[in-house]
């Protein structure tokens, strides 16, 4: 009898030890970044025994977002999903499907201070009342990488990155003429780098109502004189071979062209740094994005990309407790500084940035603070705070298509950008119509 009692006690102790609440997190971080993410989650799971977070890799950003939406429709949604910045408009409009982060943290008594986050990052994900709707996790901004060896071979100063587009053109010509590389520069994410960030960097409006922040019902205005001039230049440079097109979306061909030494300069996300470092054996230089120095207000500040974590509705209170606790862990300075230094993503809190400075990380790794310096160069204006349009995933595809039409010589820069505005506005209207 006594033995049975002990066995029973042991059994109940065992079950309570296993009664951890499961929290599922769908993400889009593959490769090195995915391994690092899992390491971070393991660190959290080991730090306490109440909750167990399970990360699930769901493919690309688009795949992750669409599968989470499909899962929501089927009532099988995860607790947390990572959504890229252009999906923000869609997620925000889905009232009833998302649990705003500021509310989650409030309801579940988690330690949370929105003021601790970098304004450039957090501004993108707050509603008009300044409430944070999603949890910043991996935010990046495009920067310029260059091949110092090629610069030296071309007789350029390898320690000086080009600062203006005039420099980029002149350097590219010199690089090609001296045979230091086959092409001057290439870029990933044409829409993000050469249109959205280009506009913010020159303090130019992308859309009405503060780039869509003020109202869902906004219109695109990317067909301004400066944007037309820049796209026109890109088309000319492409014809002369100074610029090499890297493909639609992220630009799958851009990275290999830079890695192989074919192109001497490469514009892409700061989060590409880990990949660039791992795949190149030449001396790497990092600089800010180039600008046209005759444009008033340039350079302003660049805008972010990357993704945030959205919490979906329809789970138990215990699970939300776990999510809130996990988010506090995730935004701690230690975790953020580690993630930022490993990946090249921006430190999302002031504390994480300061921790990196204390650790002497930026001195030991020159160039790693270019991204954060660039994004905080000036206080964001209504034009350079970011953008928020419905159906923007599709609008990005439209931008890619029109850029291809431009490079193929089927359209002028003005025609291509006018078409972006017209087709993009139709998509925004559809969105308002479906969500209104």
């Amino acid at each position: 009898m006594k033995r049975i009692l002990i066995a029973g006690l042991l059994a109940s102790a065992a079950t309570s030890a296993y009664a951890q609440t499961e929290v599922t997190w769908w993400h889009a971080m593959g490769g090195e970044l995915g391994a690092k993410l899992e390491e971070i989650v393991e660190g959290y799971n080991a730090s306490q025994d109440q909750y167990h977070v399970t990360p699930v890799y769901k493919g690309s950003y688009t795949d992750t977002m669409t599968s989470a939406i499909a899962a929501f429709r089927a009532g099988e949604q995860p607790d947390v999903v990572q959504v890229f910045e252009v999906g923000t408009g869609t997620m925000m409009a889905a009232e009833g499907a998302i649990y705003p982060v500021y509310k989650l943290m409030e309801d579940h008594g988690a330690d949370f201070d929105p003021a601790a986050f970098l304004p450039a990052v957090v501004g993108y994900y707050t509603d008009t009342n300044g409430n944070m709707l999603s949890m910043p996790f991996n935010s990046s901004t495009p920067i310029l990488y260059y091949n110092k060896d090629a610069f030296a071979a071309a007789g350029l100063d390898p320690e000086t990155a080009p600062t203006t587009w005039e420099d980029v053109e002149a350097y590219s010509r010199k690089i090609m003429e001296t045979g230091a590389a086959e092409c001057g520069f290439t870029t990933g994410w044409v829409s993000w780098v050469q249109l959205e960030n280009f506009s913010a960097w020159h303090n130019l409006e992308i859309g009405t109502n503060e780039n869509g922040f003020g109202s869902m019902d906004s219109e695109l205005t990317v067909n301004g004189a400066q944007q037309v001039r820049h796209w026109d230049n890109l088309a000319t440079w492409q014809k002369d071979g100074l610029f090499k097109y890297g493909g639609p979306g992220g630009g799958a061909d851009a990275a290999p062209a830079f890695y192989a030494g074919e192109c001497a300069m490469y514009m892409n996300s700061s989060a590409s740094r880990a990949g660039v470092v791992a795949n190149t054996d030449f001396d790497l230089g990092i600089g800010m994005l180039p600008y046209y120095d005759d444009v008033e207000g340039a350079p302003q500040n660049s805008i972010i990309g990357g993704a945030t974590l959205w919490v979906l509705e329809g789970q138990s209170d215990a699970e939300y407790d776990g999510v809130a606790d996990f988010f506090s862990y995730l935004s701690s300075a230690e975790v953020q500084a580690d993630w930022h230094q490993f990946s090249g993503y921006l430190p999302i809190t002031e504390a994480a940035y300061e921790l990196g400075q204390e650790q002497g990380y930026y001195e030991a790794n020159p160039g790693t603070d270019v991204a954060i310096k660039q994004i905080t160069l000036n206080a964001p204006t209504p034009n350079s705070k970011g953008l928020r349009f419905g159906n923007y995933v599709q609008t990005r595809a439209v931008i890619d298509e029109e850029f291809q039409a431009l490079l193929a010589g089927d359209k002028t820069a003005q025609e291509a950008l006018d078409a972006v505005v017209e087709r993009g506005n139709a998509l925004i209207k559809d969105f308002v119509d479906a969500n209104g």
Binding site: I69, E262, D410, D430, A434
Partner: protein, 294 residues
Amino acid sequence: MQTKRMTFRSRWLPFLLIAPQLAITLIFFIWPAAQAIRQSFLREDPFGLSTRFVGLDNYTRLLDSPEYLESFRVTVIFSISTAALSMGLALLLAVAVDRVIRGNRIYTTLTIWPYAVAPAVAGVLWWFMFNPTIGILTYALKVMGIDWNDRLDGTHAMILVVIAASWKQISYNFLFFLAGLQSIPQSLREAAAIDGAGPVKRFFTVVFPLLSPTTFFLLVVNITYTMFDTFAVVDATTAGGPNRATNILVFKVYQDGFIGLNLGSSAAQSVILMGIVMLLTFVQFRWIERRVQY
């Protein structure tokens, strides 16, 4: 034609026997098709939180959209080119293998191999070979003075998807053509030869007409293939680009529905696609079949 009549003792037995087939048709065809039709009249936000009946709005928008009409044109070019290329080459190969006496089994096996390759893999394979930066065929073309770039040139991209889609289908067509050729009695060809007809004349007056049932069957299969089954090939090679040059109807359904989350429009496109294939099959059986000799 005489049919065998079966008499069942129980009145329910025949229904019971046919039930599994009916159930499968209902679950896997009628029900999803009905869902697609229902959804094509609705407008929904991606999460399905608000649904509104919009009547024929999704259809009228499609027919007003230049992108959709462009997708139609692209599909016609793609389907005809792919069907013509894969059937033409397959027939050529089948005739060649049919004439070979020694080792034709080896040729047959080698020719049907590509059919075992998954469409996405086939797509990636050709994508690699024609890649503007690292492709081996791009390099070969450059030597010949052709600057290949399917990332920017719509015609190049179309050639690429046609080649990738045909490459797989050639094996299938080849197998049927070969079987068709081998079932043609040797005596007919011999008689023609004795009458003094050369190999080319023999082929076009004797062999090819006798192959017409096979050719007709393959035409139906190939058109259906290019309309529906080529999705993975397009996705892996060009993803519909550049500038929609290879955005065939079935790929647009996926893009608008799964990437764009515009389910209403995507459903309407599926319904139209379903209608087109039904119409094509009808036309084929009604008009072309009359010219076929069995």
